[in-house]
Symmetry: C2
Subunit: 368 residues, 2 copies
Amino acid sequence: MSRKSATAAGRHTIRDVAARAKVSPSTVSRVLGGSYPVSTATRARVMRAVRELDYVADARARAIAGSETGPVAFVLDDITGPSFAHVAQGVEREAARLGLLSLVCTTDGDAERELALVELMRAQRAAAVILVGGVADSPAYRERMGRIAKSLSSAGSRLVLCGRPPFTDGAPATVIEYDNEGGAYAITSHLLSMGHRRILFLGGVPGNTTAQGRERGFRAALAAYGIDPPPALVVPGDFTRESGHRRVGEALAAGLSFSAVFATSDMVAAGALTVLHEAGVSVPGDVSLVGYDDIPFARDLHPPLTTVHVPYEELGRTAVRTALSRRPDSADERIMLGTHVVVRGSVRQLGPRGGVGEKKGRGGGGTA
Amino acid sequence: MSRKSATAAGRHTIRDVAARAKVSPSTVSRVLGGSYPVSTATRARVMRAVRELDYVADARARAIAGSETGPVAFVLDDITGPSFAHVAQGVEREAARLGLLSLVCTTDGDAERELALVELMRAQRAAAVILVGGVADSPAYRERMGRIAKSLSSAGSRLVLCGRPPFTDGAPATVIEYDNEGGAYAITSHLLSMGHRRILFLGGVPGNTTAQGRERGFRAALAAYGIDPPPALVVPGDFTRESGHRRVGEALAAGLSFSAVFATSDMVAAGALTVLHEAGVSVPGDVSLVGYDDIPFARDLHPPLTTVHVPYEELGRTAVRTALSRRPDSADERIMLGTHVVVRGSVRQLGPRGGVGEKKGRGGGGTA
DNA sequence: GTGAAAGCGCTAACAC
DNA sequence: GTGTTAGCGCTTTCAC
């Protein structure tokens, strides 16, 4: 009974096991560590002691003494958003495959908190810190995050920007993006090709990089048709269903005229669709609607939602895989995942020639 | 230059900081630890060194040396399920509020993996291990998990069963449930009171405790009306939208007759609704539909889904709060959160008097 | 093969 | 106030 022999609570140490098996702590360590020659008899004795004591080695002590790699840290706005949840899934799956644990933290969109969390993750010696989703992208913020990226990098870790543009000052980061602008361009073009000209654009938080990308794509597509969207038809908001509901309600109340709605997320589209239904506006009969994200639910809306597919889970998987593979810290990776529009039933052909696609479609106009 | 002075990579230790500030490591520790008298001058020197070296103390070493508490571990089937995501949110929020990190692991419904993960969390010295969602509840599984619960408990940690029944053999666990049976009973009664008698029940994975609870409630409500559901109308499945889509499709193809569908999750209801639409069956005109969970999306279905509200986020918050508050390990807590039906537009009154108001009806009540 | 000793990076107890 | 000395629970030389 040298130190506290811990017979009481189940908090045994490797020494307790050693004593019980009548070997030295090192031997216990070797047995547990696997890969090391230990005589069968000793191994058996040790294992028995481990079982009897219900011993599990402290992973933190282990990590400190040996050089085990830390967990993967995952920082996002809100784990409740369907698309983010899929990224989380990708991250967790891939991390688990690599034998790593996943730490998850949410910021509620607070940039300050995000910075603090990333520092916290650095203290945890995370193998990689993955930031998901757009941000309010102020220069000051970038500068600070850039510095943290450097610290992380020089400590052998890695900052991963997921669905967010790279640093401009060359701070080290792995960035996995998806084509927000391209997707928005494509689906806007789809709307345009179906004859829609007055499109109500339900944007995201101003300043948010994701929102900006989608708006850029929208504007570019319109510009290609020589259209300059009326300011009244481009309204900011956030990515929630409530936001879609409210803003379309307001547009309707204001008597705005439009034949289509481009919601910058499927959640927003869902809210928009509901308020349209409530107002007795037929979709796509009177107004066409498109979303962005292609969450599983999109196909259960009525009509099924035409939207832009984003490979969220792959985004997550790629993030951890890329961050952890390349030890040669050489060129900073920058990967762009593709997006594509998936046509379902929420857009109809506008104009004299009617009928298109699986759903109906006849002439008709916008909404008051 | 005693040991590796680590001037190279950013991996500085407390000794590097101490050297640079010309103080002892303990002093650095005291400065960083806060609450301890240190002269202003020294503190300033130390902080400067910390800043210059971009030093962040290793949280693991810290935890080992002092006695900091471990993270909260959160183990669930699939983080992608909308309801689980809300539990996750509750857990993360509450953990953050308490200054704890959240570790998240998914099992994909694999009981074996779940057991392994819980052991892993024990190695991490998690402050609490939260298990979410129903399980295939075999006696062997229970026995094993019960043993783990004991180990956890005697190591000062805590197993939390969230939305899952307590151990029967008295293994220590905090259990936070919600009333699956009561909710199912209530919404079935609602259907019954609206005149529905032939109800297609879309169950969950057989053996899953959540699925069982909901089915019990369903049967109990029918029994109260003297009805014994025809076996053909009670079909198992899982909690995905695909499952709902497929099973209702099959029921339709088989020519089964029913006036209402009880989907045991909103996701299932969504799939069911879509296939009903596809088949030209009007909801609630021809067939009424109810779900379970009240995910945000439920109100964006068309018609808006009548369903059972479950306080998922509160479930998560309560789980960590309860597990971490009571140190007096005395009576094992068992909390039951209430559920209630929220009537929207997917159920109509059956019988001579037709009519389909958006909001009509009232809830049926009672608990098994 | 196995044990003793020397760390890992940190905090805490004990001096002065 | 601050440095010194012991640990925390583990792994890893380095001997034998």
